[in-house]
Symmetry: C2
């Protein structure tokens, strides 16, 4: 059985909070490399990736394109039509690996959630998608826990830093350079990024 | 069997990176509340807490006091004398719970490590402490992986955001207010801290 893995993805001008250190073209390449890492992990965990995109882009992947609605509207259009177990995973989780995704998929509960940094939701796995709907943006982790509770769905919170670490800001790149092993790490290194000692925690520097 | 859990702890003027939002007295109370949460989790996981302190302080806990050496020197004095499995866990991990610590203790390898944010090391568990030594500060996670490798010790990296999230900076408080359930969360709330929506991620505000 290969559950679909819905992966929301924005090909144009993504990751604007990295604008100070990456050009638009670099951010687009970097987002693509992270997507590739997530797809790899998802496939290794025996899921079938389906991209949920804000515009069509050149790719061999199965795509659902958001047209006149937003991410929530699109996903909440898909979920009621889904008869099989469904995974929803963000495209900016390049530390995702087979093992962490398998922990999500093997939940004994009705669904599983992995919170992101700062109250977001990075991964949702739901066995009966009809009974759930999403509400992303802001403190979505708490909103999703409440939606599960209101729907009578038991929900496991998966304790994984690999799936908790979404890459949005410069300091997040440190985690990728330390713990990453895929294309997005390689891409950062090709751009000249490396680890640098700061006071206390480690930071990144870029050689040009 | 109750393996000792060594907990480095600084009672006076701790957590200086929170100085902008907490007074020295508040930081000392907050550090004490976090320590209490960590001790609780460690005891529930059947370990015996031993505080490794920079000065003696009023507490019923077993204490080892750092005198003329630093944290590395002190721990590297203790480890060669240790005959039993030993856990070393930082005091600023208030999201630690029984389950996450049990995952560390149940490693099949010679030792287990949980990386902290920004290249640090939050938890070390070593079955034969004589064969290992510590090297904290800076990118200690990489240093500890290298020390394990050089000593021929197999090492599992435990994938836990609860043990990965050390509380050092204002934005880390968000995670505690979302995922915490112990004394340190209650203390923050008593001080007037609560979650606040910012752009994208969620932040904290304090009412005075």
């Amino acid at each position: 059985m290969c559950p679909p893995a819905l992966i929301p993805y924005k090909p144009k001008n993504p990751k604007t909070r990295l604008s100070a250190i990456l050009s638009q073209e670099e951010r687009e390449q970097f987002a693509l490399a992270m997507l590739s890492d997530v797809k790899e992990a998802v496939k290794d965990a025996m899921c079938s990736p389906v991209l949920v995109c804000s515009e069509l882009f050149d790719s061999e992947d199965v795509q659902v394109t958001i047209t006149d609605t937003d991410l929530n509207g699109t996903l909440n259009g898909i979920l009621p039509e889904s008869v099989a177990e469904t995974l929803i995973i963000m495209a900016d989780l390049p530390l995702a690996n087979t093992e962490s995704i398998r922990r999500v998929l093997s939940t004994k509960m009705d669904m599983a959630i992995v919170p992101g940094r700062g109250g977001g939701t990075n991964v949702i796995f739901v066995k009966e998608p009809k009974r759930f709907h999403v509400d992303y943006y802001g403190a979505s982790f708490m909103k999703h826990m409440k939606i599960a509770e209101d729907a009578g769905l038991s929900c496991e919170v998966i304790d994984s830093f690999r799936l908790h670490t979404d890459i949005d800001e410069e300091e997040d790149l440190v985690e990728l350079l330390i713990h990453g092993s895929g294309k997005s790490r390689t891409y950062l290194e090709e751009l000249g990024f490396s680890l640098a000692a700061e006071n206390g925690r480690v930071g990144v520097v870029r050689k040009r």
